[in-house]
Symmetry: C2
Subunit: 198 residues, 2 copies
DNA sequence: TTATGATGTGAATATAGATTCACTTGAGGA
DNA sequence: TCCTCAAGTGAATCTATATTCACATCATAA
């Protein structure tokens, strides 16, 4: 039999694996059998720790939210100033995309309708929460004088979010051929010119 | 019985309805029963005109591609200059989003993994084709001197695509509260500043 | 007007995947 | 050491959809 685990640890492990599946196949291709196999369990064992499929997806989204929000908070405190925080955030996203990490793909799949109403609403909240955090960084930038005061922070935040999604797609589609680091550097120049003072 | 139609007309009608369903529910929630009901048919009748579910989705994507590409070609010939063409394109997308039209949502769902490999690859091709067309407009802009020559057209095209998707999500999530026309005007200012000469 | 093929229908059938359940097993406290 | 319960298993179910099929009906061309 598989190594036993207490349910708290197992839940986290399963939620994390669920995030991976979501990144690779999207919620359409997400199924319990796959998920169970990844953590070395039999499908029915998943039900020891979760109510059902929706519950697993819910937990995966919670985990995703925590990771992404933490990422924004991290760059905010690490970077010297707001613009550098955004640049660092963009770079981190690129690295996650490059490593096949879950986050960016989920972010992309976030935009899609479908799924139970409750789950969709949750995805939307997460996305909006992310945008709100980026928006806060931009406001900081305005206060410190780095960002033009005639820029609408919410609009700029949305544009920032929009830089990441297409990159994730191209990486997925073109694979190695697409140099995401170089792309991110170029698109950052554009963004900077759009929002920075001067 | 339902009004009869020859299979060519019926195929188009079904593909168009499929696009609507896709826009509302995503490919996850897409099912033959729903689709059939929309065109006033019984599920099994769909199989008179399509091989099966995948075939319908394939036709819907073809239709989507034609519509979107035509949209880009249209603004290109209607507008006086490349930058105005892009602005018009953005406005048209906004209108489609506002009217609940299919295109933008599908564009969003385009980024999601999942679905049969063949279908995913098709989605990716369509997206890249769209970006390539926008890229061509930007190159025009560089030749006419409207767009800075140090802007990488492919990068700018991707950024342009990135302006649309988050807007579609917010419209979907916030509904009436989100004034998409105003948003698009603001984000266009940012984009213009990033790429326009001066 | 009638024969024929294309469309449409409703009732099966097929299948994938989620979920349940009775049973097993291992780890930790009495 | 032995008990007990949480965690794991495999074999059923259950369910939602896709898909097939035999039959009905309309349009039209001879």
């Amino acid at each position: 039999m598989t190594q036993r685990m207490n349910t708290e640890a197992r839940r986290e492990q399963i939620a994390s694996a669920a995030l991976d599946v979501l990144a690779e196949r999207g919620s359409e291709g997400f199924n319990i059998a796959d998920l169970a196999e990844r953590v070395g369990l039999v499908p029915s064992a998943v039900y020891r720790h979760f109510e059902g499929r929706e519950d697993v997806l819910d937990a995966a989204l919670d985990l995703f939210r925590d990771r992404v929000y933490r990422l924004v908070d991290a760059v905010r405190s690490e970077a010297e100033n707001p613009l550098m925080a955004l640049e660092l955030l963009l770079t981190r996203h690129a690295k996650l995309i490059e490593s096949g990490g879950a986050a960016p793909h989920i972010m992309a799949s976030m935009n899609v309708p479908g799924g139970r109403a409750a789950r969709r609403s949750k995805r939307e909240k997460i996305f909006m929460g992310y945008v709100a955090r980026v928006e806060a960084v931009i406001r900081d930038g305005q206060e410190s004088g780095q960002v033009r005061s005639d820029v609408d922070p919410a609009t700029a935040a949305l544009l920032f979010a929009g830089m990441i999604q297409p990159a994730a797609l191209l990486r997925h589609s073109e694979g190695e051929r697409f140099d995401i680091t170089a792309h991110v550097a170029r698109v950052w120049d554009l963004f900077r010119r759009a929002v920075a003072r001067d």
